[in-house]
Structures are given as structure tokens and as C-alpha cells.
Assembly symmetry: C2
Homo-oligomer: 630 residues x 2
Amino acid sequence: METAKLLWSRIPNSEDGELEGVGLLSTSNGNAVESLDYEVIENHAYREEQAQRGKLYVGYYVVVKWFFALLIGIGTGLAAVFINISVENFAGWKFALTFSIIQKSYLAGFVVYVLINLVLVFSSVYIVTHFAPAAAGSGIPEIKGYLNGLDIHGILLFRTLIGKIFGSIGSVGGGLALGKEGPLVHTGACIASLLGQGGSTKYHLSLRWLQVFKSDRDRRDLVTCGCAAGVAAAFRAPVGGVLFALEEVTSWWRSQLMWRVFFTSAIVAVVVRTAMGWCKSGKCGHFGSGGFIIWDTSDGQEDYSFEELLPMAVIGVIGGLLGALFNQLTLYITSWRRNYLHKNGNRVKIIEACLISVITSVISFGLPLLRKCSPCPESDPDSGIECPRPPGMYGNYFYCGKDKEYNDLATIFFNTQDDAIRNLFSANTIHEFSAQSLLTFLVMFYTLAVVTFGTAVPAGQFVPGIMIGSTYGRLVGMFVVNFYKKLNIEEGTYALLGAASFLGGSMRMTVSLCVITVEITNNLQLLPLIMLVLLISKAVGDAFNEGLYEEQARLRGIPLLESRPKYQMRKMTAKEACGNQKVVSFPRVVKVADVVSILRSNMHNGFPVLGGLVPPPIFVTDTILNGSFA
Amino acid sequence: METAKLLWSRIPNSEDGELEGVGLLSTSNGNAVESLDYEVIENHAYREEQAQRGKLYVGYYVVVKWFFALLIGIGTGLAAVFINISVENFAGWKFALTFSIIQKSYLAGFVVYVLINLVLVFSSVYIVTHFAPAAAGSGIPEIKGYLNGLDIHGILLFRTLIGKIFGSIGSVGGGLALGKEGPLVHTGACIASLLGQGGSTKYHLSLRWLQVFKSDRDRRDLVTCGCAAGVAAAFRAPVGGVLFALEEVTSWWRSQLMWRVFFTSAIVAVVVRTAMGWCKSGKCGHFGSGGFIIWDTSDGQEDYSFEELLPMAVIGVIGGLLGALFNQLTLYITSWRRNYLHKNGNRVKIIEACLISVITSVISFGLPLLRKCSPCPESDPDSGIECPRPPGMYGNYFYCGKDKEYNDLATIFFNTQDDAIRNLFSANTIHEFSAQSLLTFLVMFYTLAVVTFGTAVPAGQFVPGIMIGSTYGRLVGMFVVNFYKKLNIEEGTYALLGAASFLGGSMRMTVSLCVITVEITNNLQLLPLIMLVLLISKAVGDAFNEGLYEEQARLRGIPLLESRPKYQMRKMTAKEACGNQKVVSFPRVVKVADVVSILRSNMHNGFPVLGGLVPPPIFVTDTILNGSFA
């Protein structure tokens, strides 16, 4: 190397104290983050400590690691069960009450419905704004940032955990166009992080004998487990959880860790299954009638013919387009909120969320009123065609004048999201929905999902994505049924492909989404089709912008290091890369006193060593510096 | 750094010329391998070339990359379909003929059966020994080595591909205790590698316009795709293929590559599905009656109770023990073969394989004769219990005196492996097998699988592993059925768990095995149990030895770099690591002429730079050296 210089760019120190509790994310814009120390600093002190530790300590360390994986699994599983039971009961009770009232008066029912939603959403936004500001949103971009080496203050605190759990019960139970899956990932990560600290230090709940994980590396491993546990719990998809952690969030991965993550996911699956078995006896109210698979579509289409590949590709393209549009719109609206609306304090956030709640309630109650009820198809046991569950039954609360009628828009709009998706995915129900209803729902729900995104409540995008996707999927399916009349085509199958395509077009994951889709729908037969649709939608989406989480992370100022340098960086020199940053560098021969004083003047632990030919910067840790002074 | 020295150990040059065609693997013992250049060498020439290439070339490069992924998918899918059709037809025709003869004379049937098997196995071993020596075995350890950066001569040639395809038809069709899945992975890798070279140069089949992949890195990416395609085709498990490539074989992974691998797997799935749809009309003889899922167990146990977790854990422990034992025994026997038997030339290899074929035939024909036929259970449509398919029907060829009888040992031993596994996994068939039959089969088949391992035929260990595992799984299941009489327990479910446990105990994969198990059996309900069983069996197995592929790779002298240094390496110095190797090092100040002469004296491209404190050795590529000379 010709002229070795030691330099770094002066990044302003992070202002931890100021940021806490004020809603860190709105103030961070790329500067206020400090990176975590994942590299083991192999200096003299470290090696001495390693040598002192006996075999017993190493054994204890391994046992605690696995014990924590177990605890994370149990904790996240229980949190998921708690959230699910609460949401299902709040929502079920809400719909049942509204249903019983609207049989007498539509207006009274409407008022009650709006008020219940408002109270739930208000509780959620109040908790988030006054107690746990970091609990807003899905939390996945922040977790992604953390696992890529950035310490973003406040995202893994005990208060965030509590805010996330109770906030998402309120926001999902309140009928907003958002899901509880993203927040559950954050919940899992919080549980893991708190365990890693040995409890919450602030609330004096810490246990000293659990504080064996002092390094950022160990905590990162735990958070990875928590993240996988969250997905596993949210979708009852243990393998999907492992793959999500692998593909989407973490850039640090070892096969040893994979194994522990796998164990955590398995534990979650057992816990959730056990709880659901316990709930089957009716102890959990409205929750517990379903199986381990959330939306079982195994009775759908078994095979496909070549002619169908074209409409399926069309679904992929639509998914890519709508997904990319969703990312772009949410980016604009979040950035607007951040820069203008939310600067005016918590009051504005609360009013905003309540307003959106009222609008959502009005639309979801009002629009079905404009549709006429349709008569149920003749119940013919041979054809297998059946009526969507009659009104008042579990899963369909909308009141029609006659007994054998149903309101197709209400079965998806005036319903819990889980049941709406169940209706959209349902097989043997050709022409259950009119194209008009689906189109109305698609436009309205898409708009609501975009507008709701970025409000100060815990909000996931998985379930809204599935809703949107399955709606246009079913629309395409209806068209295909009319076009290829001879073929045995199920609209529900197209809805499933549509759901996969929208998620692919928005989140741009492939393998984990594919596995999650299979795990939540129990339809392995369609795997090749799901894969192809995902590939198309991801390719189309990538032509426009980055994935939802990457866009949001960039907006929040969370720099994510990509696995490879960009093409235009290939011919960049160090000088160009530094730009007009203030750079402190050493000359070739330097006094030790100068080095020490400059090292003392900042908090960094890593410094790039830049040679003449600019290979990718090598980060040198304290080791070598210590070495040179020794 | 105190005293920077440039040194390397003098590894003897690889003797490529001598090794070709003589059965490379038996001669390589850790020295005759040279590492591949995966790092991009960013010197002046490279950057000039990059700058010359226009945007058009980059576009062409990307298009060719994806086109190749498509071709690999189609090629591997077609190869798999061809192998499957051939094996099923050879085996089906063999059993049908034998069955028709034994109705007149057992002896004549026996002779015909032995002879057909012998001819098939002879053809396989002849092809391998005289034409494609690198096609012996499963090929997975070699592919694993290749993807970890080792060029092992001969494993990815055109002749190896041909030898692998036809050899595995012979060995699997000939009824040996081995599977066609491992060889299919190798087949996929060969197809990928040949495409990457633009065809086979030796046989003048190369196309110039396809030769855009000049770097080892691009070829490695293609081989990864091929590997995943192989698994996807072998098990009709596209997601399992992606994960197998990720977890087991490759240590170089980028999310960009994951996406391409995913695409290849999806293509394989579509090709295989299309071929199977075409075969359903009866054009493929004995093949094609099954669906996309190989062993559908979705009608098995739906739920489990807590009491069952104990016997399931027992299955995990048995799997770990038997798997570790299998690895150890095969290690001994392969090392013995390598050092003594196979040194005597091809004739010995042929005789050995033929002998094993005769022994296998005698055992599989003779042992069922010792068992009496059992009457079929009363066919009661309500209970769902049914007779294993009556003799002469597809899937059960053994002759019993009366019509409504079956021979339980014959349904698994005197049968194709696929059908045997189908019988072992079958639900609603309590007490189909006697404990005695299962135990006999377990002992005999385990022995046969161990003995067959390492003969000079293409041989996979997946299907034998599933056979062994499901046998003891079913045994445990029978015990559990007797013990917990009240519970609704399916023996087939326990067989499935057993299969997973043996594979976990032997191959030590978790996530990919789990997904493959689910994909081949279509039973998502049991996912948590499969995960737990796999975790237990892997943990138990790890206590004894390494995984099958790692052990075999070590035996063949393929050094696999682990992701982290071992614990005892932490305090090792460079001096100790070099041991008594002859090391050439430079003094601190050195003449350019000396450096050049020493660099010219060897073929290496990477040299460790060792500092005073011995951080993990940093491999410096030509870049920096070129830099210093410039």
C-alpha cells in the first residue's frame, strides 16, 4: 500500500438523552445513530478474560443461551395468544352487539359501531403517544436496522413492548386497515432484548444471574430469535419465521444461530397450538374455533392448466404495480406526516388517528348499505356450492331482510379481517362476490390502508396486503372463470395468488413469503404457482422502487448496509466517497500523543484504513490500535 | 503490526493430468485440491475491462444469467423425470414379471428376480467404473466442496452427468438399498456447470455466445442453482431445494442469488408437474399415477396430546443414535474400501457391487417367504381401516395363497422404495405390520444400507434414511398405540417422525429437512413435531460425530472451511498453526526481484499476511501485490 492513512468522518455524536421519549424516529435523519459492536474485540483484556473463564462457565453460557431461546419462544407465543384472544373478543363482541342493534335501528347500530371503534383506536393511540412512542408503526424497519448493526434508541424497551401489545389490540380491534403481524415481530424482538439484558433495568425487574450477555453480538442473536418467534407466532408459520429472519431482517447469519432460531420457532408453534387446543373447549370466547392453519385453502384448486398461466402472470404484474404504488404512496404520506403534521405534537396524532377511525367505520358500515342483499345460491350438496355463512353466524354479521340472503360487500368489509380473508379465499363459491363489490372494496380499502399507514398506532402491513391482494386476485379469477368456461377454476385460488403477489410486490421477499403463504393456507399443491407469481411481482416492483421496509428505513434515517457495493461505486475513489465531510486523517508518521488525543476525542470504535488503490474500506477495530501501542 | 511478514505454506501443486479418469476421489487426500477464485480481483486490468463494457453488455449478462437459471430448471426437471420414469418402469416391470412367474414356481421367480437386479446393477457399476468414475456415490460432499471454493477435478464433467443419470437408473432400479435423490443433486450441478462453460469443450458441443461466465464466481452461482434444482426435482420440493442449497451446501450466499435459485426451483416444479400431468394419461407406463406430493400423509393424525411428546422425543433420540452410528459405520467401511479393496482396480469394484446386488435380492425375496401371510382386516367402510393393496396390484407384488391376504414384510421389502415408504406412512392401518417384521426389516435394511454405501454406483442416502427411520418410527408408534389406548394415534404419523429423525440424526440439517419433509408428505399440521424431533436427533447426533456429508468430505480430503474458528484455535499462534510445514516468508525489507521469482515459482493466488498478534489470517489477493509493483 502506498500511502496508508488512518481517517474517519466526523459523524456527530448521538444525543441519546435528548431523544428518549420524544418520539425518536421523527427526529433521527441518518445522523443520530451509532453502530453496534458485533466484532469481538480480540485485545489483551479479552483474551485474559477468555482464559480465566473455565469450562463450567462456557457450559453455563450455552445453557443460558438455549434457555433464553426457550423463554423467547414461550413469551412470544403467549403474547401472540393474548393479543389474538383480545382482538378476536373485542371485535367479535363489537360485531355481535352491532348486529343485535341494527335489527332494530340502523342508526343506533351505526353509532354504537363507530363509538366502539373510536374508543379502541383512541386507547391505542393514547398508549402510543403518551407512553411508548417507539411502538408506533410496524417496527420491522427498526428491527431490521438493529440487526444490521444500528442502535436506535427506544425500540427495544419494556415500555415499547407493553405499548406494542396493548396498542395493537386497540388498533386492530378498532377495525383500522392494518394488521397485528408486524407489531408481533417487534414484540418478539422486545421480549428477546429484555431477556438479554436480564430484565428491565429501569423498572427494577432485572435478575443478575441472567446478565451473561454483555456483548452486542449476543443481544443481536437473541433479537434475531425474537424476530423469528414473532413471525412464527403471528402466522402460526414456524418455518416461515426462520426464513423471514434469514431473508428479510438480518445480515449476520451463522448456521449455529439458524439452529437456535429454529428451536425458538418450534417452541412458539407448540405454545400457540397448546393454547389453541385449550381454547377449543370454548374458554376463550370468540377465539379458538379455527385450527393451527389460519386460512385453510386445501380444498381449493388441485391442478392448473397451461392456459391459466397467463392470468396468473397478470396477477403477478398487478401485484407488482399496486405494491410498488403502495410503497411510493406510503412513502410520500409518511414523509408528509413526519415533516408537517406530527411536528405539532401528540394532540394532532390522537386527533388524526381518531379521525381515520371514524372514516374507516363510516365506510365499512356505510358502503355495504348501498349494496343489495343477494339470495344464497341453491344449496345443492352435489355441486358443493354453499352460501357464505348466514347473517348473525360467526363470520358474517351483516343484517339482511330475509333469512337466506347475504350482503357480499359486508362479508368482507363489515367483518373481522381474518373472516374477510377466509371469505375471499373460500372455494366452491363461484360468483359469491359481484365484481362491483370487489372493485369498490379494493379501491376503498387500498386508500384506507395507505392513509392509515404512518399513524401513531402499532400497525402491520401483512394482513391489509393480503386483503388487497386477494380482492384483485378474486376479480381476475372471476374473469378467468367466465373466459375459460370449461376449466375447473376456483376463484379462491386466484385470491390466494393475488395475496401472494401483493405482498411480493410490496415487501419484495420471495422465499419467506412463499413459505408463509403455504403455511397459513395449507396449500402445497399451488407452491409452484405461488413462486412464479411472487417472482413476477417482485421483478415488476423492483423496476419502480425498493421494498416497503427498505423505503421506510431510509425515510427514518436508518442506513442499511447492502451486501454488495452499488455498480456506480466501483470506480469511486476514497476522496469522492468522503465528499465534503470533515475528515480527520493521520500523516504517515505520527506522534502517539496525537493519536491518543484524537482517539479520546470521539466515541467511535472502528476506523477505515484506506490504501492507494481503494479496495472496499477495511474496518480496523481496537485490536490493532491496542497492538501498536503495546 | 509489529513484524509484517508475507508467507505461505508450500502445498504441492495439483496433478490434474494424472488424476483424470482414474477415480480421482480415491487418490485425493487433502493435498491435490486447489481453491477457486471467488474474490473479484480488482486490479487495473479488471477495472479497464469493466469500463470498456457498455450498458448493453451488462444487460446481456443479466439476461443470460436468468436464461441459464431457466435452462438449469428445465434441464434438471427433465433429467429427474427421465430418471423417475426409467426407474419406475424397470422396477415395475421387474416386479410384475416376478409376480407372474412365482404364481407357478417360486424358484424360477427368484432366479428371474436376482438376474434382473444383477443386470441393472452391473450396467450401473460398469458405466461408473469404465466411463465416469466421479459419478460414484451421492456427489453431495464434492458439490459441497466445490461451493466452498475447491476445484475437485472431474466432478462436473459431461461424462459424469451421463454416468450419474444412467448409473442411478441402474442402481436404484436394481433394488439396492440406496436412493436417487443425492445423484439428482449432482446431476443438477453438472447441468449447471456445463451450461456455465457454454457446453462440453471435450465433446465439441460448446457454444461461443454462451461463454460469458468466465469467473469462478459466476460458475459457483450457477452450480448453486443446479444443486437446488436437483433437490427440488428429486423431492418435488421447490422450497426445500432453495433451503438445502442455502443450509447444507453453500457458504457463499447473497440475497440476489437466493432469488435466482428460487426461480430455478420454481421452474423445476413447473416442469415436473407438467410432465406428471402428461404421464397421468398413461403414457409413461408404471410412472405417473402419483400426484405432485410423493408420499401424501395429509390424512394422518391431526392433533397430538402432551403424553405423546415423550415417545416422540424417544424417536428423536433413536434417530440421533442410529444416525450417528450410520455415519460412523459408513465412515469405517468407506475408508476400508478406499484403502484396501478399491486399490485393486475396477474388476473388484464390479464384483463387489454385483455381490451386494445378489445379497440384497436374496434377502428381499427370501425373508418375506419366512413370514406367513396375514388375512386382510375386515373391510369396514366406517372405521376407514383397509387392507394394504391386494397382491398383484400396483404397489404390492408378493404372492399369497389366498386372495384376501397380504405379506406384511413383502409390502416393504419386496417392493419399490417409494411404495414401501407409502405403506410405512399409511394411516388408518393400525396393526398392518407385525413388530417382528418391522424389526427384521430394520436390522436387515440398515445393514444393507451401510454395506451398499461406498460401492462404485451413484447412491443417495435420503430414501434409505427415510426407510430406516419410518420403520423404527412405526415400531414406536405401535408401542404407543398399545400404551395409550384411548388416544387417537396413527402409526403412519410416527413413521413420518421417525423418517425425519433419522435424516436429522445422520445429515444434521434442520430447516431444509423440515421443509422437505413437509413438502414430500403434505402434512403441515405436524410441523412443530417434526421440528422438535429434528432438533433432538441433531443434538444427540452432534454429541457423537459430524454430519454424514462432512464426515465423507473429510474422508475424501475435501477441506471445508467452517464459519467460525474452533474454540481451541483462539489462543493458537501463527507459528503453531504452520506446524512443521515448509513456510516461505519474506523479511521486512525485500528486493522486488526476490518477490517476483518466488511468486513465479508457484500457482497460488492468495497469501496470508500475518501480524504480531495473530488475528484470523487475512487473505490478500493479487490486487495488493499488483498495487505494490505498479
